[in-house]
Every structure is written in C-alpha cells, then in structure tokens.
Amino acid sequence: MRGQEPRSTSSCAACRLLKRRCIPNCIFAPYFRPDEPKKFAKVHKVFGASNVSKILIEVPKEQREETVNSLAYEAEARLRDPVYGCIGAIALLQRKMIQLQHDLALARACLARYVTTPSSIGGTDDWVIAEALGDFPAGCGRSIDSFCQNISYELNEEAHMYDFSQIPYV
C-alpha cells in the first residue's frame, strides 16, 4: 500500500460520533475521551458540536476542562428535564436554602431566650439569596423566583434527579 496515512486508532469521542478524522490538535480530544462516548453525545444533543467548539475557543485553555464539565452537567439536566433543565436544580437548592434560613432563625430565637446579650447570637450573616439571584443574569427579564412558582418539586421528592456530587467544584 503506498503512502496511505494511518487511521487514527484513538479518535476522541466527539470525532467518533461525528464520524470524522480526529486531527492531532482536535479541540474536543482532551475533554471527550473515547471511553466516555455518552458525555459528548449528551452535550452534542443539547448544544451541538459547533456551538461547543465556539464556546471552548472563547475560554482560556486552562479553563476548558471546567467549561466542558459544566456543559456536560447542563446537558444532563436538560435531557432529564426538558422544560426547566438546570433551573429545576437551582429552584430545589433555593428552596432548601430558604428552609434552612427559616430553621436557623427559629434556632436563633430559641437561643436568644437563654442568652441575655443579643450581640452574642450573631444574626448578621443572613444570606440574601433573592438579591444574589434576582438580578442574574442581567437583562433576562425573569428571576429564579418566578420559575420557582411554577416548579412544583417537593424538596426530597425530586432531589434524586440531580446528582450534585457530580460537580467537581464542591
């Protein structure tokens, strides 16, 4: 056989799915290993290979792995819940936080009945979630709270849908 370029035996998961030759500096290869075909399949289904490529090109190289992981998480969430995607997970966490704030306020009130000096209770570190999430993202025209009103998940009922332990950021 004359001068035939050897086929790559280590095509990344992206190039395998897209049925194309995996070039040496393929942008997907470092993050979509051939032994994880489902990861790229999910990301491709939700975002499309072209859009993922554009997003990766925009971010610095050292942050691309984090970017891919967050895209994979978002894609997984969207495939599980086509209506709300990650917003469902955020709504669950927000409700949990509100419940915790309520429980903490009760506990502090109970402690206050024992302690005579109010300054020793330390109730100044309230988390203002509404302010933190209400304006984010800018110009969206809708806050997380407005989604929460429509999402009827019970705190424990749907929590299993979201595997928060998958995020490597914790």
Binding site: V46, N51, E66, R78, Y84, C86, L111, D125
Partner: protein
Amino acid sequence: MSSGRCAACRYLRRRCTEDCILSPYFPSNNPQRFVSVHRIYGASNVTKLLLQLPTHLRAEAADSLYFEAQCRLEDPVYGCVGLIFMLQQQIHAAESQLVKTQAEIAVMKSQGQNPEAQQAEQDFNNLLLQQSDNDAALSFPNQVSSGFI
C-alpha cells in the same frame, strides 16, 4: 414581506409561516432573546426540544433556555452551574451554622437552664421591686402632712 416575522425567522432570514414553532416564544420586539438562545443552543436544537414538549410547557422551556443561555454568555466557563455552586456553598454554611446553634441550645438545656423559669424569676423580682416602691410612696405624704400642720 418582512412584516410579521418572528425574531427567529427574521434572524434566520426565512419566511415565518403561520405554524412557526418559534414565533410564540421569540417575538419580533425582542430580537436579542433569540440571538442569545441561538448562540448557545442553535435554532435547530431549540426547535427539536420545543417540538418534543406539549404546547402548554413550551413557554416555560423557552424562558428557561433563555435564562441558561444568558448565564452561559455572561460566564462562558460555568454558566448557570456557577449559581448551583454558589447555592451549595451557602447551604453548607447555613447547615454548619444551624448545627452550631442547635448544639449551643443543647448545652444550655443540659446545664439546667430553663428559659421559662428564668423569665418567671425575673417577673417575680420586678414585682418585688414594684411593691417596695409602692410602700415607700405611701409613707412619705404622711410625714409631709404632719410636718406642716
């Protein structure tokens, strides 16, 4: 015939048909909404996703897609997953604080302190003080009146 086209069809430079699936959710008066969603997901993926949903859920889906797209445009690395991370941190801190506060209450209880008993004792002391003030007030006018006559 450019009038009446939705933002999606206008952007994609195609005719907007009467049964255009995107037009109810990407009106022409908000072109940026479709641009954001298209940049992250692509028109084809958005269309496929909306088509698989019952009609009454499509508006919510379009809104959540727009929200997530905006998050990703503002933070290309983490997108809305950054919010999840932030909430997880806050929940962790709140849980720690709650456990700490509950432990303090348990210590108070174990030391035999009873908030109701403390309050009752304080009320009793206040009552005693009030009675002694009243007794002092009653005796003073008699001394004054006897002095001037």
